[in-house]
């Protein structure tokens, strides 16, 4: 394999690993910093969907054989369907169970 293709894949994989780290850490930070489940849901869906998806693309780029690359592609396709739907299910559950959402206290608005 010519070195240009090799290094292109390496650099792109590193880029996507960086995305994985950035989104993972920011989502985890949001998971603990946000006041109520509603906003934590947004932070967690960032973590689980975007970071794992960029991790899968990075692994797709450095997959050694075509057999592995095709499997990773199928996993990515299904993960793109199941993870956002899971987040939507939680949102519906939170909505129907009528969880109270966080409101800034009166004095903060002043």
């Amino acid at each position: 394999m010519n070195p240009i293709l090799f290094w292109a894949r390496e650099v792109l994989a590193l880029l996507f690993f960086l995305f994985f780290l950035v989104f993972g850490l920011s989502g985890l930070l949001g998971l603990f910093r946000f006041p109520d489940p509603w906003s934590r849901l947004q932070a967690s869906s960032v973590t689980s969907t975007t970071s794992v998806f960029s991790l899968l693309t990075a692994l797709l780029l450095i997959a050694p054989s075509w057999a592995m690359a095709s499997r990773i592609l199928i996993i990515m396709a299904f993960f793109m369907i199941s993870s956002p739907t899971g987040s939507h299910i939680i949102a519906r559950f939170l909505w129907f169970s009528g969880l109270p959402h966080w409101m800034p206290e009166e004095k903060d608005k002043g």
């Binding site: 590193l14 967690s44 997959a63 592995m68 499997r71 299904f78 993870s83 899971g86 939680i90 169970s97």
Partner: protein, 91 residues
Amino acid sequence: MTQFLLPLIPWILLAFIGITLLRLIIGPSLGDRLVALNVLSGLALGFLVVQGLLQGRELYLDVALVYDIFGFLGFLAFAFFLKNKSNGDNP
């Protein structure tokens, strides 16, 4: 360059899973626990795929795919069951 980084990824993923477990345990309301579960299934999938690539066995990738499918179905049933339990009137 990535072959030095690749063995590091499972440890990072385990750290993320550990922190999310913390949220699963602490989580005051039921919604937080569901949120943590959703993150856990995504991270576990990533962990499986990375292991599959590290050891060069395609079997792990099939395991990851089946895990994702059943994880999603289980999550669906879980949320549906909780919806009935929480307000109990509409099916």
